[in-house]
Symmetry: C2
Subunit: 386 residues, 2 copies
């Protein structure tokens, strides 16, 4: 029996006979995504099982444990959010901010701006302290701001992807708790590549992404909340104003109840498990050391070529280096040349640094001595032509 009998005519105007997908080889040395580890891509392509299959439920627990290790936290509520890092970022405010709550954002780059924007959408009363793009906050500046603003959440970025600055974290968590304030930390460009001790630093809310230090494609947003942050969630007077990111619901799926919430991105979690497993097998200290050594090699090489690094050495991120575009050079044209002639992606500046710096990432699988040599060689041979 033909089902076509009573149907409208199918419109062919958007039908396109595309070829099967083919993508070029790229070496991704920009701000992310970084190249994925081949074993992670292999895991990604395994046939999916159901999101309530006992096999998958078991895997969820493994992912959680490996995330706790990578982040150095005991937090029970440590899960990958089913979206990218920005979704996990939003989950922090969505769950803990109630209308009128005071949020203080310590802003020193593009992602600080985003934190303010998000917090406001959850009807927080947002205050902002600022540092020039390329600097970090001192403990004294943080304390003064906590004293002045008395926020219930201090939000800041550990590794600013827009500036290449790594914020020193020692003592900030203690100050926050002293002033009855939760500490929210962006670790998007640090997880897996830069020393991170969430519990030691008394961080209450943190998020990251899959596509940088973890060598997995983008698509999952690691998220964690401390018992203190969980308490604030439990004491809410109303529902979380975001169903998809509501941790009180997600908790029932990821916790012992295993109650259906949404259909988990099964294959992305296969990939993330493999990525975290590889990191654990390498060992955190080894991974951090590797990132540091390769970054230093890059910094020395760039300076030898007469280029100026945007951030002073003490504050530099090993995962992402901002290098100033020399006077008279068309930075965008050079980036495009790298992409088109060598298949190498590096990043341009973002926000206030647009047109002023290139951003070179050495993250996860891509943080190798060979990659550093390759990019330095090309800078040496080709930059003078621009």
């Amino acid at each position: 029996m033909a089902i076509t009998q009573n149907l409208p005519v199918v419109d062919q105007s958007h039908f396109k006979a595309f070829e099967a997908i083919s993508t070029p080889e790229r070496l991704l040395l920009g701000p992310g995504p970084s190249n994925a580890h081949p074993a992670v891509l292999e895991a990604l392509a395994l046939p999916p099982v159901g999101h309530l299959d006992p096999v998958y439920i078991h895997l969820m627990g493994e992912v959680q444990e490996l995330l706790r290790y990578a982040w150095q936290t005991d937090n029970r509520l440590t899960i990958p959010i089913s979206g990218t890092g920005s979704a996990a970022m939003e989950a922090t405010f969505a769950n803990t901010v109630e209308p009128g709550d005071k949020v203080l954002v310590a802003n020193k780059g593009y992602f600080g701006d985003r934190l303010s924007d998000m917090a406001e959408r959850y009807r927080a009363e947002v205050s902002i302290i600022e540092k020039p793009w390329g600097e970090a906050f001192t403990l004294q500046e943080i304390e003064e701001a906590l004293k002045n603003h008395r926020p219930s959440i201090l939000a800041m970025v550990h590794a600013e992807t827009s500036t290449g600055v790594c914020q020193p974290m020692e003592g900030i968590g203690e100050l926050c708790h002293q002033y009855d304030c939760l500490l929210l930390l962006d670790t998007v460009t640090s997880l897996g590549g830069v020393p991170l001790f969430l519990d030691e630093w008394k961080v209450d809310l943190a998020y990251s992404c899959s596509q940088k230090g973890l060598s997995c494609p983008p698509g999952l947003g690691p998220f964690t909340m401390s018992p203190l942050a969980e308490k604030k969630l439990l004491q809410r007077s109303g529902k979380v104003p975001n169903w998809y990111l509501d941790l009180s619901l997600l908790n029932k799926y990821w916790g012992s109840d295993r109650v259906y919430h949404h259909t988990a991105p099964v294959n992305m979690n296969y990939g993330l498990r493999e990525a975290l497993r590889l990191l654990a097998n390498e060992g955190l200290l080894n991974a951090w050391e590797r990132h540091r050594i390769n970054a230093e090699k890059l910094w020395n090489g760039l300076e030898k070529l007469g280029l100026v690094l945007h951030v002073e050495e003490d504050l530099r991120l090993p995962t992402l280096t901002t290098v100033r575009i020399p006077e008279g050079v068309d930075g965008k044209a050079f980036s495009l040349h790298l992409l088109n002639s060598y298949g190498i992606e590096i990043g341009g500046g973002l926000g206030l640094l647009a047109g002023k710096v290139w951003r070179i990432g050495l993250m996860g699988f891509n943080s190798t001595s060979e990659n550093v040599e390759k990019i330095l060689d090309i800078f040496e041979s080709d930059l003078p032509k621009f």
Copy 2:
């Protein structure tokens, strides 16, 4: 130089030496995810390019065109949301509801409940009309409700995954526009498997998922909004209260500006493009016909075994069949037996139908005559033992 000198000690308590991932073979004949097409899994494992790479930007346009074809819509704002179907579901309300807006939910199953819950979180004034789980609304019932409630959005589910009912859509869109109301439609279990004509039906907001009729793993949420819905977004008095799902920002990335919003899940979009390409190559009519023929074979076979289908034939979904668990049979034990003895997943009942029905899905790649025969054979041989 050792970076370990001034660091806290790395805590090994969450370190686990897991083996590489290994997953069992599963035939997923539940409510979703369905098995992915092998070519889609292959695409998923291609090395990622950057989310602002010209190659990827081009691919985004292809995905949009193929989605428009699959949904039969000209809507400019047709994109995959970077989350699962539930994120795309939430994006509909997040963008178009302002506090105090009247939303009418035509509820006839579990996902109707979810629509109400979500709309309330965006501070809509929600009214609900209800039908028993297993039935559909008549045009007259819809008109009466529009007249009584005068909502600005009517939200309903085309293919109710919890009940197996396909809501007839002819005439509903005309009524909505006559009453100055947008029509919001859940097409999670219909896209790719059941006739869908969004523009012909005058649907203003719709969403779906990747893991059912499209034969891709879960992880992306197709979303579309009509020019009329876009107008409501543009006329908002305040920002969209959800940063991640804000279409006014996403529009700048997916539109001609290509302004960075979040890092797109590149590999999932590789998979989705391949899935949509396979659907286009088969042709919508052929795909719909295949789903219908295999579903009818399943229905006839189950009835021959003396089983009772929960939904009357005219309203039955070809993608998902609800079959009543016979008196005295432990439905959960039988499902578990299928999983453990044959690697076949079927679904149990959800919400009001928990313990009362099984849910058998024949979706996308899995809608084959062989799969129908396989599941019928096992029902015939093994169900009498339960």
